[in-house]
Subunit: 343 residues, 2 copies
């Protein structure tokens, strides 16, 4: 195999200078149409393909972006973090949204996983080396250090969900309060009178917002006091919270659970106590995750427009890459109610 043709070769074939060929390729400045035509033919004849490394070297752009999934799953040999991520339909929706936006623009995402501090450091180093121009970060961990690291390294990046600490970084999020209100409206519309809620860990912003939103909406419906038990967004904590709620408020007829996983646990406990769902107790979850359709009865829940949010992340990121000085932005999306069986 002979060496790949370079700009120089094309220029020689077309009888022009290297600069002119570059201009034609990049469509920068005006070039005489006749010369353009000659150059294009020369490119086709030589089978020229621009060398990305050389271009990157001078433009300081790679034309690639990283899709980073950060979190702290129980990472072990048999079931590593990345495998858990792929098994989660949420990630599929994010990736699909990102790809949908980036692909028409000729950009392909680089997949990275950050489940340990070492991995996170490595990712920052990779980005600084210029493997990608920026990062789209999906964090499954409440106090992820990666947003801060990205921000400090001044790497263009966009997060899914508002960061826990106040970090100058762009993000997209869902209107948690509106979602909680949808849940409240649904429960009230079904005629629930004694409503309680299982909140997420209250050091997580999303959990705070969902609780506050739910309480506000219920208050507006004339229910100023809503019993609440805090959970940890896990299945087991959902069970425990439901047990407690049931023992303290045996007469309840409606529960808003701050995520589907806990709701799934709550459903099980309700059944053990002989409560029928939704006849005796209506349950509304949050997230529309796979747990929502996996549980019996299937969960009525609040759905994020994940694909749209992911596409918006990609759009924001490209803006930041193109215009480094640009101020940080956040875009909030409206969730919707998905009615299934549980409420």
């Amino acid at each position: 195999m002979t060496a790949a043709p370079t700009l120089e070769d094309v220029a020689r074939a077309a009888g022009v200078s290297r600069a002119t060929v570059s201009r034609v390729i990049n469509g920068i400045r005006n070039v005489d149409p006749a010369i353009q035509e000659t150059v294009r033919r020369a490119i086709a004849d030589t089978g020229y393909v621009p060398n990305r490394a050389a271009r990157s070297l001078v433009t300081r752009r790679t034309g690639a972006i990283a899709l980073v999934v950060s979190g702290a799953g129980e990472d072990d040999e048999a079931n590593p973090f990345h495998s858990q991520v792929f098994a989660d339909p949420f990630f599929g929706r994010v990736a699909s949204g990102v790809v949908g936006f980036l692909r028409p623009r000729g950009i392909h995402p680089i997949l990275m996983f950050a489940e340990t501090d070492e991995a996170r450091t490595q990712i920052i180093s990779f980005l600084r080396q210029g493997y990608a121009d920026g990062a789209i970060l999906v964090s499954t961990q409440p106090h992820d250090p990666l947003p801060r690291l990205l921000s400090e390294a001044a790497l263009p990046s966009v997060l899914f969900a508002r960061p826990g600490e106040a970090i100058p970084i762009s993000y997209v999020d869902v209107a948690h309060r509106t979602g909680a209100k949808l849940a409240a409206d649904r429960l009230v519309a079904r005629g629930c009178r004694r409503v309680a809620t299982i909140a997420g860990p209250l050091d997580v912003l999303a959990a705070q917002d969902r609780l506050a939103g739910f309480r506000d909406a219920m208050a507006a419906h004339g229910h100023p006091y809503i019993p609440c038990v805090e959970g940890q967004f896990t299945y087991a904590s959902g069970e425990a919270a439901m047990e407690r709620l049931l023992s303290e408020h045996p007469g309840l007829d409606g529960v808003f659970v701050a995520n589907d996983l806990m709701a799934q646990g709550a459903l099980l406990v309700l059944r053990h106590h002989g409560r029928r769902v939704p006849e005796d107790v209506a349950v509304v979850g949050f997230d529309d995750s796979s747990a929502a359709t996996a549980s019996r009865p299937m969960l009525t829940t609040i759905r994020h427009p994940v694909e749209d949010m992911a596409a918006e992340m990609a759009r924001l990121l490209l803006e930041h890459v193109d215009e480094p000085g640009r101020p940080m932005t956040s875009v909030i999306f409206e969730p919707s109610l998905v009615v299934r069986e549980s409420a």
Copy 2:
């Protein structure tokens, strides 16, 4: 923000030449330990990170590889190809296997989708530009042109499954005949005496091998004639094939179906005809896809070691990248029987 430090800066700080710093970083040739130490300190002090573009330019390596999913799904606005891919657990297993191998080596895959000829051409162009050193290709389409394009462009690549045409390209595959034999053994062991099979489209190699392997194994068990109906690997074709089989051989008591999707269709038809599975008719599928656990009764099926296969693809690819002249290789994996409810 000041400009990122370069090798030159580090060299100056350490009081050595650029070449020496480069040698320390790349661990090439011997460098005096004292000088090494000085250089390392200088690197830490300056916060130096090598520039990938510059390195790529001279080494002609990117240190990145592409994970390409090619196919021809019904791609439309509402449900684009990439979204179908992410929804498929098979892809998740492949990606997970690839990532598991590549990540410890500091390599992150670039995700690419090729569902149209245009996309395929673009991918070849991307690879030729040096976005990645090679490609891992998972093709969901029997007569995919991409393997040939990759081979012709002399791009290091490894396929999942043997290509339809004879193309000089490395691949990993599963021993379809062995898998079919496992199915035959299972049916015979359950006492099935009147066994039939639903094959895949016989222009697909895998389908041919599964059929041939099944017939050979059944012949060895003393059943030289096995009725067969050809399907298209789709749910609907599985239904149609089962209908036909049942009408032509109403007394059958065992079916080997060449993939799970068709088996799922077959199961439904058997139920409609009042046959109990597995009591009246035992059914064995192939692939251990999500359809296997989604169907009722759950399918006994043949499982590929997908993660291992994917990791092997990555390993082979890196070999090809490191040693361009290396002959094409194929690695065949042994499938296993997963016993569930249907047989």
